[in-house]
Structures are given as structure tokens and as C-alpha cells.
């Protein structure tokens, strides 16, 4: 990677940036889920590793969250953009060199930010915890170059129209810059009180709604038609999805603070808009599932489709929860409980991770021109992720319902802690399975690069038979 930082543009092979982003994202995924597993162990067994400030739960919890969001998920997005955007425009990435630099600064900036966060250098705002100079690095060094590269690649495309995936890529890379800038403005301008609390959750909501959800969906809009060979079921429904994300998904931020003393009109407005996120959700899921018509055997036989469609199916419970749990009728019961933790993992580890994993699997094979090393290991990875996640989600949902009951009947809190204990152990088991699955994935992708069978020119990875 380093040798290309100062190389001439024409000496950098096409796809380099995407490959670096791909492997970086897998490594961050291993780190992030490893931290998650360690943290979960501490919640189950509080005397596991004590006496060290640096290994305490309070110092590592936010490192896990941001390593996964900015390391794994966002880097996998960057990887997908670096190879899907040019592929859909029938062109090359606008600047491979900018992409390589982007990846380099991303890894350095994120490592520095997480290191400081680990030491306790925090702004004290959930999801936007990093101190302001790291936010500046994220905005100017990470998100802006990505946006420029994606936009210029779309602009220099050699096709007449722009495919659905690229609308989302273009719009999301632009919107996430706005979201980061506005969301961190409490720190740039020293905003205080409820304004700051609201902006904190405005950021947390919109980074999900205008970055993670639409980009993950956009990836599957590419992977499913590409691998199955079926055209996308409907571009009109794609339009509906895109516009309803922009209009509805960008507005319900206040529903994260339903029990806080925010103005009531704001909470009511957010709650109604929150139900309307079902519009893009239903459009997305139905469009993708209908695209699968006649090719459902690939859900079993092909690893990319297996990951993608599992992720798409998980969008159903995700959005059913997301649409309704924020209404006053339900929110009073489950707010601030493990139910929400389960829901957040359904969004990031369930829905979105499965879609990105497919893109990374497929993209690395395409760019390296090598067939996946082992289908067996990939299936192992899939099932470890799915079973581990499900264990996590079910146990945290139950724990959340217990907490909710404890909350409304106002039982002594320690009784809730005692009742939750078995589910905390289950959560740790599930999280550890995800971590172990990812270690296997890293090995599998490393071996793919080393000894994977070369893919002949003019062939696509999924057209070759698996060998192991």
C-alpha cells in the first residue's frame, strides 16, 4: 500500500484502493468484535480482568462501537464504492491515488482517534465521542475525499443513465459529510444543554439513516442482480426507496429522546416520521426479494447471495421494530433497555454487516481475480455470524423486556441485574461466536489472495465452481 502513496497515477493498478479498503475493513471487524466480546465478558463476569484503568469497561465500550462503525462498516462501504461505482459507470475509478491516500488516512486517523478514546479522551457524547480534531480528520481526510472520488467517478461515467446503487452512493457520501459536520457542531461551537443533547442524537440517528442503511441497501442493489443475472425487479420501486429515505429517514432524530424534556411537537413529529421509515424499508425488501425470482437456489449455493438475502430478510424485523418501538405507546416500556441494544445490533451486525460482507467477499474475488479459497470456511463464517448474532439478539431482547418490566413496576434495580445475568452470559457467547467467525474469515480471505485459483479473463467469480 505504502509504495503507491507516492507512485505515478498510471502505475497504480486499478482496484488497489478497493483491495486495501477490503482487507482493512476485515481487520477492523476482527478488532471491533473482539472488543465487543471482551466487553460482554465484563458485563457477565464483573471481576474478569480488574484493577486496570485501560482495560475497564467504561474505557472500551465506545472503542468497540466506533471501531465497528467507522472501521468495519464504513470501510467496507468505501471498498464497495471504490469498485462498484466505476463498474456501474463502465469506467475506472476517478483517482486510484486519492483512494489509496483515503484508505491510508482513514486507518491512521481512526487508530489515533480510537487510541485517544481508549485513554478516556472523550467529548462525552455517545456516537460522536471523538474529540473535535479527530472529527475534523474524519470530515476532511476521510469523508470528503471519498465523496469527491465517488462523485467524479459518476461524473466521468460512460453510460447514459445512473444506476440505483450510484444514486445512493452519491447522495449518501454527500449527506454523511453534512451529518458529521452538523452533528459535531456542539463541540465546534460549544453548544450546550438540550440543544447539544438533541444534536447528539440527531447525529446518531442520521449516521444510521443517511449513511449506513442506504449504502448497505445500495450494495445489495448491485450484488443481487450481478450475481443472479436477473435485472433489478423495479427501478420505480428503487426511486420510491431513494426518495423516501431522503424525505422520511432524515427527520425522526428526536425519537431517541422520547422521555427527555424536549419540546412535545418535536417528539410527536419525529414519532410520526419514524413510522414512515417503513416506506423505504418495504420498498427495499420487496424489490430485492422479487429480483430473486427463479434464482432462489442461489440462496443456498452461492455465498454472496446467502449473505445478501439473509441481510435483506433481517431488514424486515429491523424496520418493524424501528418503525414502532419509537412510538410513545411502546417506547415508554423498552426505552433505555437491552431491547434497544438488541435492535442496534440487528441493524449493524444483522442487516448491514451481512450485506457488506457479501460485497467484500465478491469484490475481493473480482479485483484480485482469484476464486474464494474455501466455501467451507465461508459457510462456517456465515453460520457463526448468524447463530452468534441470533443468540445475542434473542438474549438481549429478553433481557430488555425484563428491564422494561422492572422499570415500569419500579422494582429494586438489583433484582433486574440478577434476572438479567443468564442473558448477559448468552450475549457474551453469541458475541464471541461472531468474533471467532471473523477470525476465520480473515484467514479465508488471506488464503484467497495467496493461493486462490486465478479467474480467467472475461469470467466472473461466481461462474467458477468452488473447490474446497
Amino acid at each position: 500500500m505504502f509504495k503507491y502513496l507516492f507512485a505515478k497515477a498510471e502505475d497504480i493498478p486499478a482496484g488497489s484502493a478497493a483491495i486495501y479498503f477490503g482487507y482493512s475493513s476485515i481487520i477492523w471487524f476482527v478488532i471491533g468484535t473482539g472488543l465487543g466480546s471482551f466487553n460482554a465478558a465484563k458485563l457477565a463476569f464483573p471481576d474478569f480482568v480488574t484493577g486496570s484503568e485501560i482495560l475497564s469497561f467504561g474505557h472500551m465500550r465506545q472503542v468497540h462501537v466506533l471501531a465497528v462503525i467507522l472501521g468495519w462498516i464504513s470501510m467496507a462501504f468505501a471498498m464497495a464504492m471504490m469498485y462498484i461505482t466505476p463498474a456501474l459507470g463502465n469506467t475506472k475509478l476517478w483517482s486510484e491515488k486519492l483512494g489509496v491516500w483515503n484508505c491510508f488516512i482513514w486507518n491512521i486517523g481512526l487508530s489515533l482517534g480510537l487510541f485517544l478514546l481508549w485513554l478516556g479522551v472523550s467529548s462525552g457524547r455517545e456516537y460522536s465521542d471523538m474529540p473535535f480534531f479527530i472529527d475534523v480528520v474524519v470530515i476532511l481526510g476521510i469523508l470528503t475525499p471519498l465523496c469527491v472520488n465517488v462523485f467524479m467517478t459518476i461524473k466521468t461515467r460512460r453510460t447514459q443513465g445512473i444506476y440505483t446503487t450510484n444514486w445512493f452512493f452519491g447522495a449518501a457520501t454527500f449527506m454523511v459529510i453534512i451529518v458529521f459536520s452538523v452533528g459535531n457542531s456542539p463541540e465546534f461551537f460549544q453548544l450546550t444543554g438540550l440543544t447539544e443533547a438533541y444534536l447528539t442524537w440527531w447525529f446518531a440517528h442520521n449516521v444510521l439513516g443517511l449513511w449506513i442503511t442506504p449504502v448497505a441497501a445500495a450494495i445489495s442493489y448491485y450484488v443481487v442482480p450481478k450475481v443472479t443475472g436477473n435485472p433489478l425487479y423495479s427501478h420505480r420501486i428503487g426511486h420510491l426507496h431513494f426518495w423516501s429515505v431522503v424525505v422520511f429517514y432524515s427527520t425522526p432524530a428526536a425519537h431517541h429522546l422520547m422521555s427527555a424534556p424536549l419540546p412535545e411537537w418535536l417528539k410527536s413529529f419525529a414519532s410520526v416520521e419514524g413510522v414512515l421509515i417503513l416506506v423505504p424499508a418495504i420498498a427495499f425488501v420487496s424489490n430485492l426479494l422479487l429480483t430473486m425470482t427463479g434464482k432462489w437456489r442461489m440462496f443456498v449455493e452461492n455465498i454472496e447471495i446467502k449473505f445478501t438475502i439473509t441481510g435483506v430478510l433481517m431488514a424486515i424485523p429491523l424496520n418493524m421494530q424501528g418503525g414502532f418501538q419509537q412510538t410513545r405507546a411502546i417506547n415508554w416500556y423498552i426505552h433505555g433497555t437491552g431491547w434497544i441494544v438488541a435492535h442496534a445490533h440487528l441493524a449493524l451486525l444483522g442487516f448491514s454487516t451481512f450485506l457488506e460482507a457479501a460485497a467484500v467477499y465478491y469484490g475481493l474475488q473480482t479485483l484480485l481475480r482469484r476464486k474464494l479459497y474455501s466455501l467451507g470456511l465461508a459457510n462456517f463464517h456465515f453460520w457463526m455470524l448468524l447463530v452468534g448474532f441470533t443468540t445475542y439478539w434473542v438474549s438481549m431482547t429478553i433481557a430488555g423486556l425484563i428491564q422494561g418490566a422492572g422499570k415500569i413496576y419500579e422494582v429494586p434495580y438489583i433484582d433486574v441485574v440478577i434476572a438479567e445475568h443468564p442473558y448477559m452470559i448468552a450475549r457474551w457467547v453469541g458475541g464471541t461466536m461472531v468474533f471467532l467467525g471473523n477470525c476465520v474469515w480473515l484467514y479465508n480471505m488471506y488464503m484467497t489472495a495467496r493461493v486462490g485459483t486465478a479467474i480467467p479473463a472475461g469470467r466472473l467469480p461466481h461462474e467458477l465452481a468452488y473447490e474446497r
Binding site: 467504561g58 465500550r61 462525552g124 453534512i178 453548544l191 444543554g193 443533547a197 424525505v247 433505555g336
Partner: protein, 316 residues
């Protein structure tokens, strides 16, 4: 190929996204800006100081340059006995909270009262200042305001500190830094919910209770009791001390981490704390080999543990 075929789409996108930002950013900001600070908001920001997270004066969250909250019974200038008064001492160079730096954060009426009656605009960070929260009936309405006692009564920060004994000083500002740095708010919320929680965790906050405070550290994932009014439920310093050192000493089912490392090297008597010895003795107690747990060392006056206990006990 230019974007010309997408001109309408781009404009519609700008319109949709812009409208959405107008409704979710501009309108709430204008609405929240018109909220007047309550006396609770003034007390909170004056005891916490300017920022409770990363800042220039305290980049590594060590609790540097934070105010000290004192309870005094004597007038620092004249020495006369006065009714017990809670004052916020900002020594030279300690940054003032946001309500003093930008009084409009307090809302129109309290800001005007703080400037005319409280003379907060005369306070200077280079000199330091002592503040008090006051309330006065104005036209039938109770108006809270901040008084700059250095200007109105001649209370100098050093003289005010001297009137407070060690137990009358609360390092609340430093304690809030510890609360944020150690991630207490990942499990303990600071926000009783409006729909329930009244009986167990106390009254939820009002709209104007946070003006000027940063960060509010509400927390989102309650794995432990809400702490907004914890000082009213449990005011025992002894209990807090044992609970922070090892929560299992006072609550055998607790899953809270041990915060013994906040004690530092020496205890209140200047003796080196023998952590290994303590742990061995505690393990023997936990295994049923000894009847009593080892004594918890009293934290030193300048330790991080003491500041965190001050902060928690101050949450009334």
C-alpha cells in the same frame, strides 16, 4: 458526461434534504433557544465548569482547571456569620461556564437579572470569581439568576476557599470529568423518564434544567440505576467509598466494575495502598476463608476517587 439529465433530480434532492434539515435543525434550535434556565441549570453548570469532556484546559480529562463547590457559614470578606451558603469558587484561570461566557444561553429574563443584579459581566477569568445562585420574585414570578459575589460582596476565591473546611469542599467539576472519562454513563443514566421512574428514581428534569451544561451525559442504555437524584437516596460517603472500591462489598450481585485504580498510590493518611494485599485478602473473604472483608482505604483529598464521590453525592 454531465449531470444535465439529472438537473431536476438534484434540485428536488436539495429541496427535500433542505426542508428536512430546516424542520429538524432550525425549528428545534429556535424553540429550545427560547427556554429560560432554571436555578437547577445554573447550579449544574456552575458546579461542573465549562466542559465535562475534552477541552483545551484539560485535554486528557484529568480534572484540571475545574471549579470547587463550597458550603460556607462565614462571610469570606467580613468574617461575620451568615446562613449556610453554597458558592462556586473559580480560581484564577479556571474557565467560566457557558452561562457566564454567553449569558443569552440562560434565557432573556434570567440573563438580564444576572447582569443587572448579579453583575456577572464584571467577572474575569484572569482574576477568578465566586458565584452564587439566587432567586428573586419579580412581578409575581420567581426569577433565578447568577450572582457574581466577587463583585457584589467582595468575596475573593482564595478567601472563600479558606472559609470552607475540607469536608465542606466538593470537587464536583473534577468529579464530572471522572464520570465521563470512566464511562459511568454507559450504564447509569442521568435522565429519569417522564412516563415512569417518579417513585424509584425521582422527578424527571424540566425543559430549562440543562441550559449551559455540556455534555449532559444522559446515557442511553440503562444497565444500572438512574443517578439523577442519587444523593437524595443515599448520602453516605462511607457507602460510596466501599462501593467504588469494590461494588461487591456492599452489593454482592452488582455487575459494576471496580474503580479502585481511582484511589491512586496513597490513601488519605499518606500510606501507600497495597492493592495486591487487598485483593488477596478480598479473595479470601469472597471464598469464605475469612469473616470480614479488608478495610477500604480512605481516598486522598486530591484523588480522583474523592472527586467522583463528591460528584455523585452532589446529584440531589
Amino acid at each position: 458526461m454531465a449531470f444535465r439529465e439529472y438537473k431536476i433530480g438534484s434540485r428536488m434532492f436539495g429541496l427535500a434534504f433542505g426542508t428536512s434539515m430546516f424542520i429538524t435543525l432550525y425549528m428545534p434550535a429556535v424553540d429550545i433557544q427560547n427556554v429560560s434556565a432554571t436555578s437547577i441549570a445554573m447550579d449544574r453548570q456552575l458546579s461542573f465548569g465549562r466542559v465535562g469532556g475534552f477541552s483545551y484546559e484539560d485535554p486528557f480529562l484529568q480534572g484540571w482547571a475545574k471549579p470547587i463547590t463550597v458550603q460556607i457559614n462565614q462571610d469570606p470578606k467580613t468574617g461575620a456569620t451568615i446562613e449556610s451558603t453554597r458558592a462556586f469558587v473559580y480560581e484564577k484561570g479556571v474557565p467560566f461556564p457557558n452561562g457566564i461566557r454567553h449569558p443569552r444561553i440562560l434565557g432573556k429574563v434570567p440573563a438580564a437579572a444576572s447582569e443587572s443584579k448579579g453583575r456577572i459581566n464584571e467577572a474575569s477569568e484572569d482574576q477568578g470569581a465566586v458565584f452564587i445562585v439566587r432567586e428573586e420574585v419579580d412581578g409575581g414570578v420567581m426569577v433565578p439568576y447568577i450572582e457574581n459575589a466577587t463583585a457584589t460582596r467582595g468575596w475573593l476565591p482564595s478567601a472563600t476557599l479558606a472559609k470552607a473546611s475540607e469536608s465542606q469542599r466538593l470537587h464536583v467539576g473534577k468529579g464530572k470529568i471522572m464520570f465521563v472519562r470512566e464511562g459511568c454513563w454507559w450504564c447509569h443514566t442521568l435522565l429519569p423518564e417522564q412516563t415512569q421512574d417518579w417513585q424509584y428514581f425521582g422527578a424527571p428534569p424540566m425543559l430549562g434544567d440543562f441550559n449551559g451544561e455540556s455534555p449532559t451525559a444522559f446515557g442511553s442504555d440503562r444497565k444500572a440505576p438512574d443517578l439523577t437524584h442519587v444523593g437524595s437516596r443515599n448520602s453516605s460517603r462511607e457507602w460510596m467509598m466501599m462501593h467504588f472500591f469494590n461494588p461487591r462489598l456492599v452489593q454482592s450481585h452488582s455487575i459494576m466494575p471496580r474503580y479502585d485504580y481511582l484511589w491512586g498510590e496513597k490513601d488519605a493518611n499518606g500510606n501507600t495502598i497495597d492493592y495486591d494485599g487487598w485483593r488477596a485478602a478480598y479473595t479470601a473473604y469472597a471464598d469464605g476463608k475469612s469473616i470480614y472483608p479488608p478495610e477500604v482505604p480512605v481516598p486522598a483529598a486530591d484523588s480522583e476517587a474523592r472527586a467522583l464521590i463528591d460528584f455523585v453525592l452532589n446529584l440531589k
